[in-house]
């Protein structure tokens, strides 16, 4: 974070989410500033996705508060989240395969004409416009998205966020299903969006993705935040230590470190 505003774009305070008796997210606080990428890492079941689902409205938290622009927000479903400018890009589940790119881009927020019927041509031209910016090679506007490649599908999902002027973007494993070239394109896109002042939560298993893109890294372990570090202050090994051992680098003993490398 260099010269960002003093008020965080997002501030999540004391968030708890429980499934039955299991505490998936336990008293987590996290913030995000405009133009910043915060990487959220941790092992399977650490609670990363559950925490992000609370922000995207997919699963309301059991307790805790979320501020957007310093004001208490009420997010209980995906529509609420979108109203706050929060858009989510999922690894899967994001697109309805049987409809085309424009229909997916506007899903839930369709454009209609004066009589109230769908304005498909307006939706298609808006889709073409945003695609020209994101992915000039994209031409498959008329086909159901099931016939698209993983990268093309991901660009439709990102286009949706961009078109609706997302200010807060949640990317849950955005490159997990992509090949190397497509991954690089998504990374370029993330840098571009960051430049435009969008705040991005990047959930990823790929530590290199995170180190390449994030300004700060928050590590989760068993539903709690182990620590949030500036990327420039840590090494990949230190972050891996946090992910695996579940404690900040300062608390890791020499013995544990040796075992980790053993």
């Amino acid at each position: 974070m260099n010269d960002v505003a003093h008020t965080p774009l997002v501030e999540m305070r004391n968030i708890r989410v429980a499934f039955g008796g299991v505490h998936a997210v336990e008293d987590v606080s996290l913030d995000l500033y405009a133009g910043e990428v915060v990487g959220l890492v941790g092992g399977n079941g650490a609670g990363k996705s559950t925490l992000m689902r609370a922000l995207s409205g997919a699963r309301a938290p059991d307790s805790g508060e979320i501020d957007i622009d310093g004001r208490l927000a009420s997010i209980s479903n995906p529509r609420d989240a979108k109203a706050y400018g929060i858009e989510t890009i999922y690894q899967t589940l994001a697109l309805a395969d049987n409809i085309d790119a424009a229909a997916n881009l506007f899903l839930g927020r369709e454009l209609t004409d004066r009589v109230g019927t769908l304005d498909d041509s307006a939706m298609e031209s808006a889709t073409r416009k945003v695609m020209t910016r994101l992915n000039p090679n994209f031409t498959a506007f008329k086909r159901p998205v099931k016939s698209l490649s993983g990268g093309q599908r991901q660009s439709v999902a990102i286009a949706r966020a961009v078109h609706f002027n997302a200010r807060i973007l949640i990317m849950d494993e955005p490159t997990a299903a992509l090949g190397p070239a497509e991954t690089e394109q998504v990374r370029d896109l993330i840098r571009q969006l960051k430049q435009e002042g969008i705040g991005i939560f990047l959930v990823s298993h790929d530590i290199h993705d995170v180190f390449d893109l994030a300004d700060r890294i928050s590590v989760m372990y068993h539903g709690r935040i182990v620590g949030t570090v500036n990327k420039d202050d840590v090494t990949i090994d230190e972050v891996l230590g946090m992910i695996i051992l579940g404690k900040p680098p300062t608390e890791v003993t020499q013995k544990e470190l040796a075992e980790l490398h053993g």
Partner: protein, 327 residues
């Protein structure tokens, strides 16, 4: 996202694949036209205005229910209770018409259908019961109620000819039943292809999770499709009760399967997410043409059932085959 070429043009695409795509796109239109032309050639009475309008009048109820059923199937559900609703609605409409008044009878028939449809929707969404099982169970419940209401008798109201005018009034050569069918098909066509509701029906059937995350109230959409289906079955039961001034609890015994055959032969996917009103109407008319052809040619009705069964299998097989060429 990448510069890789995707098979957009048809250049270099194998012939079988191109044929597959064309057949997939044209769908039921081709067999429908073939059946129409063949019947016109081998049976001169087929093309008579009287025969064609008769087909339309007989199909009115089936096509009305099938149009609504198309919404249910595209949204990923199925409604096996339409025949039972049809029977109950017809009996209730006729009883009410003869004891109160014709408008009250019509209203009662439609209300019964809508009410059962909403219950179906709630069973599937609120109680998370598989639609196949939920509506099958409801079909027993509703049929049972219909038998109780009619005491198992045929309900007749031959002394109420005014109720008959609901379905049997001739307007421009067609009966009001046929006009209601045409109106239903047009409304359903616009609703499904031109409105946000229709878009949500497709999205719900295509990927319910994505639709929900997109902000679509998927459960409300699913309830609405079952409500439409129930309402349509209620309308169809009322129309046919009005047409012949009699109704029976078991009157819709075969309707469910006739309707599903029409929808699926038309090319709407049983897996959800795909289909259209045009295809459903053509599918139902195609099935009707086959039946009409058997009658005109004086063939054994037994073979008619065998033929329909084979056609249904073929339709599903061709659908699966042409689907392979889509991507």
């Amino acid at each position: 996202m990448s510069a890789q070429t995707v098979g957009t043009g048809s250049t270099g695409v194998p012939l079988a694949q191109r044929i597959g795509r064309v057949i997939g796109r044209a769908g039921i239109l081709i067999p429908f036209l073939i059946a129409f032309v063949v019947l016109s050639l081998i049976s001169p009475p087929f093309l008579r205005f009287g025969n064609l309008t008769n087909i339309l009048a007989q199909q009115a109820g089936i096509i009305i229910v099938a149009c609504a059923g198309t919404f249910v199937l595209i949204a990923g559900g199925i409604d096996l209770s339409i025949g039972a609703i049809y029977g109950l609605a017809g009996a209730v409409a006729l009883t009410t018409a003869s004891s109160v008044s014709s408008p009250a009878g019509i209203l009662a028939g439609l209300s019964v259908g809508l009410a059962v449809g909403i219950v179906n929707g709630l069973i599937v969404t609120r109680f998370r019961i598989n639609p196949l099982i939920g509506t099958l169970a409801m079909s027993f419940v509703v049929s049972g109620i219909a038998v109780i209401v009619t005491k198992g008798n045929l309900v007749v109201a031959l002394d109420h000819p005014d109720f008959q005018s609901f379905a049997a009034t001739k307007i421009l050569g067609l009966t009001s039943a046929a006009w209601m069918m045409i109106a239903t098909a047009i409304v359903a066509l616009i609703l499904l292809s031109r409105t946000t509701f229709g878009r949500y029906v497709y999205a719900t059937g295509g990927n319910i999770q994505a639709a929900r995350l997109g902000g679509v109230r998927v459960n409300a959409i699913r309830v609405a499709t079952f409500a439409l289906s129930g309402l349509a079955a209620g309308l169809a039961g009322t129309i046919d009760a009005s047409r012949v001034l009699s109704a029976q609890a078991t009157g819709g015994q075969f309707l469910t399967f006739t309707v599903l055959t029409g929808i699926i032969v038309g090319g709407t996917s049983i897996m959800g997410g795909e289909g259209s009103i045009q295809r459903t109407v053509l599918g139902c008319l195609f099935v009707a043409l086959i039946a009409n052809g058997f009658n005109l040619l004086g063939l054994d009705p037994f073979y008619q059932q065998v033929t329909l069964g084979v056609i249904l299998l073929l339709a599903v097989g061709v659908d699966a085959w042409s689907r392979r060429f889509e991507s």
